[in-house]
Point group: D2
Chain length 300, copies 4
């Protein structure tokens, strides 16, 4: 089938590659012309604007957006809007908030699919996991493309109506934070505990048959192999956090407790504390003097 792909960043390029490898026709557009050219050399039809892309797709347009969540999605949709009708399908493959996706689906005449995409650049070869929300007919229509982008038929499904795809992806990411931090806790105890252990060997042994084996644990093994078992100069600074924050916010609204996911998010915030440290602990330090006349540790 023929698909338009807008956004040729790291993830968008993988989408294009996987579609073309599976024999689909791609019309590609990006703000960066040189990337469009590169993709054209590989066999895609280049477009020099959103309008150009829309025209080249003709009737029954199927368009995959792989642009950064937020304003870029709205800007692209604004450009696309005049060209869209009810027989067209637009997919947002990025990390948009599910409520924004619901609003966008309501604002366009086209069928709008929100598609959570997991696996990251590292999944270029094996394919992604795709969680799709939106009209059934549009999902059905896109199955051949989804088969190509995902790991295969089992790697994608329609989660439910509009928003459900990004909703499931949001929760996926909340879980991801906590899984990462959990492995981190285990390896921290091993690294600083009472034995002198080769953490790469630990990770490899676990990855071969242990209950806790997983892809993230394979990435731990890779990290120890590449950085050394003391993680070298890797800093205690964890960036990101928006999807985890959304997960906690939604759980607050649903009155559901997510203590592990919250704690994992907290560790990120904690890793980004100001230079003088966390105010809460500084106060606790001072309070110990208040009642017990314990010496107050002070910065130099």
């Amino acid at each position: 089938m023929q698909l338009g792909v807008i956004g040729l960043g790291r993830m968008g390029l993988i989408v294009v590659d996987r579609l073309m490898e599976a024999g689909h026709n791609v019309v590609a557009y990006d703000l960066d012309e040189s990337t469009v050219e590169r993709v054209a050399e590989a066999g895609a039809t280049p477009a020099d604007s959103v309008t150009d892309l829309a025209e080249k797709l003709g009737e029954e347009k199927r368009i995959w957006l792989m642009v950064p969540a937020g304003k870029a999605v709205d800007a692209t949709l604004a450009d696309l809007d005049p060209h869209l009708g009810s027989e067209d399908i637009v997919v947002d493959g990025g990390n948009s908030h599910f409520q924004r996706s619901v609003e966008r689906s309501e604002a366009t005449e086209a069928a709008y699919l929100d598609c959570g995409t997991s696996g990251g650049p590292a999944s270029a070869e094996a394919g992604f996991s795709l969680m799709v929300g939106g009209p059934q007919w549009a999902y059905d229509e896109l199955v051949p493309a989804l088969d190509a982008i995902a790991t295969g038929r089992a790697g994608h499904d329609r989660m439910g109506p509009s928003g459900a795809g990004h909703y499931v992806k949001m929760v996926h990411n909340g879980v991801e934070y906590a899984l990462m931090q959990t492995y981190g806790e285990g390896f921290e105890l091993l690294a600083e505990g009472r034995y002198d252990l080769d953490l790469e060997s630990v990770a490899r042994t676990w990855n071969n048959g242990a209950v806790i084996r997983s892809w993230l644990l394979e990435l731990c093994e890779e990290a120890f192999r590449e950085e050394g078992v003391d993680l070298g100069d890797v800093d205690d600074y964890v960036a990101g956090g928006s999807t985890g924050t959304w997960t906690v916010q939604e759980a607050l609204e649903q009155e559901i407790a997510l203590p592990l996911i919250y704690q994992a998010l907290s560790e990120r915030f904690g890793s980004r504390a100001p230079d003088e440290g966390r105010f809460s602990r500084r106060l606790a330090n001072r309070l110990r003097y208040g009642f017990g006349r314990h010496e107050v540790a002070r910065r130099e």
Copy 2:
């Protein structure tokens, strides 16, 4: 090679099977004679006592214990002790506390290997992950047997000196608790959140290419398939907890914070609260009356 296996429970039987399939000779003993007979029919040499097993093994005995952690290990070791010399090797493949393993290794003349075994009965076909602590020569000597019991060469390694195997296994289990609870949190939000989702489909889609794919997530998928996506009559009651407790205790001694693992352990304790509920919450309920005259919820 020839191995004695003591303890033919679910895990011990798998050990025997895998050893024999790989062509090793097994002398088998269990308190339950009928199990010994069954194993004998499958090709193992039966022993009718620990002493008998020791005699049948002759010089340079290699003995694998697969008995419940605690008194059963000590009782077996007491029976074995008169038969053991410095050229013999005893492996404890159960979930013993690492400090007990160190003590036991010091109490016997034989080389003592503590072997954390992960994968559980479900790993019968694929093999286990084996984390071994103890003397290098004894580990080297046992490699052919470890190759057979584990998933293969990559599925076992010597973690370090005595105790290191059970230490790594202890931390493995702490991590396991938190991974399970993390997936639980994610699915809880999906189950009770704003979309009506097919959790089996979610789990399957995630298991095919998503960052959070893992064996435990495959078991979630299986659980939803077998129990239904509402988990049917599965109760909010999580048994077990000793290895997770040990992990937290060790981390307290090392002054390392494990908030996610602790929280996962707490959820187990919470699931086993008395019928009248958790005292802490009952007091909070009453305090709200104390200052705000909010109505006190009372049991009938």
Copy 3:
């Protein structure tokens, strides 16, 4: 001075009483006429509508709202609006969200003070703690009334511009949740730990000289005295939660970790779990079967 008080619930009545005891003149209004009558008998000037109240106050109106947070505030403000000018002052003494207070302050010509009120009905005699946000001149103007409603001069202050009062009160409540749950944890361990203790005696002994003495601990002592040290039929069900939820939401926005406050809020959510229990634990229960063939606890 003369004040209008709108809303004669439990808290509003205390406000009226304290104002009149201090010699201030009160014009009182409530939807419930009988309450207005009662207050009139005690010396207040009754009003039979918001308009009536506004007219009776004349120029330079000072009006204290003590109505439930949310729609009731907006409805009252809508009624008041035609009567308000820039020389008038309106105080919202309820638990409104600080952002709503900022919006309301911007929507009215009057000076708008957001006033967090802590102490609850139990503070009728001793007076409240009042955290005020809004224009300095309006705060200064109201000091005599604030002196009367609060514990005295030290019991109120201007926290900052519009919203600051309700902001500080919001955080106060988040702290309150965690303090309550902390005492709860301590008494839970004492109640279920290894000694048979008289918790009322523990609380009383602590309240006399211990580092952790506090008003909430006095309320614990009272609870044990009145309910018995096993808390009798007090249920494991903690209602409420909106201000704690706001606190966590704001902290998410500020990227500040509040693990104790979050946990206290989580315990409330947990106490209100569905009958079949928490999904996360039910899944963990089932997963233990998945890998270890541990028996699955099932509901009858």
Copy 4:
């Protein structure tokens, strides 16, 4: 009555002062002779050894130990032992582990009281809260002295048999950690949140009538007054932790969840992390590269 006091550190001196002010006779001993001399000038009978103190007390000795928990207690008891009989009473007023107190009570012929002492040096004038465990007759015998050392009759009580006093004090300290950290969280959000607040004013306003008023909050107010509302050069480093660790250990043994207290203890451990930061977060940082090719923050 007459009491021997051994240990004239900060707390021991307060005990002596309060006893003498109440008209009791004190025989005092400390390793530091100059402190003994000072106390003698104030009216106490000096002793130049434990034996001397025992002899000066004569029959029916009542001896208060205020020496550091641990070896100092055992060393003092070893010196005292030859002089003790079943009609004598020894009180350990320090922060000993309750199980050590039970063992010590069993090892001596004297009646042994374990006495948790809360309030710290700051309570010199107002008196302490004393939680006593041990034989009823010995407690009764000491009531006049306890009245003097505590805030008065309400400030001490017998919690139960041997160990119960130090048990309740242990839990008290666990609660103390979490209360401190809770106030810390609240003030952290206020300090770094969206308003520019005077935290001293906040604390003072809360201390006058708010639900969360407490002695610890008075100490917060004092801290802001003395250090400035940004806490100046007070470091993010919280020392101590043994009693909190014991509390969590005991709760693990009792299978009771203390998530807030555990978290407070974790913050202390976290504040003492190695220079390169927490391994768990460093691994999470690196894993984000593993799956998403997010840039890895590195130390310089």
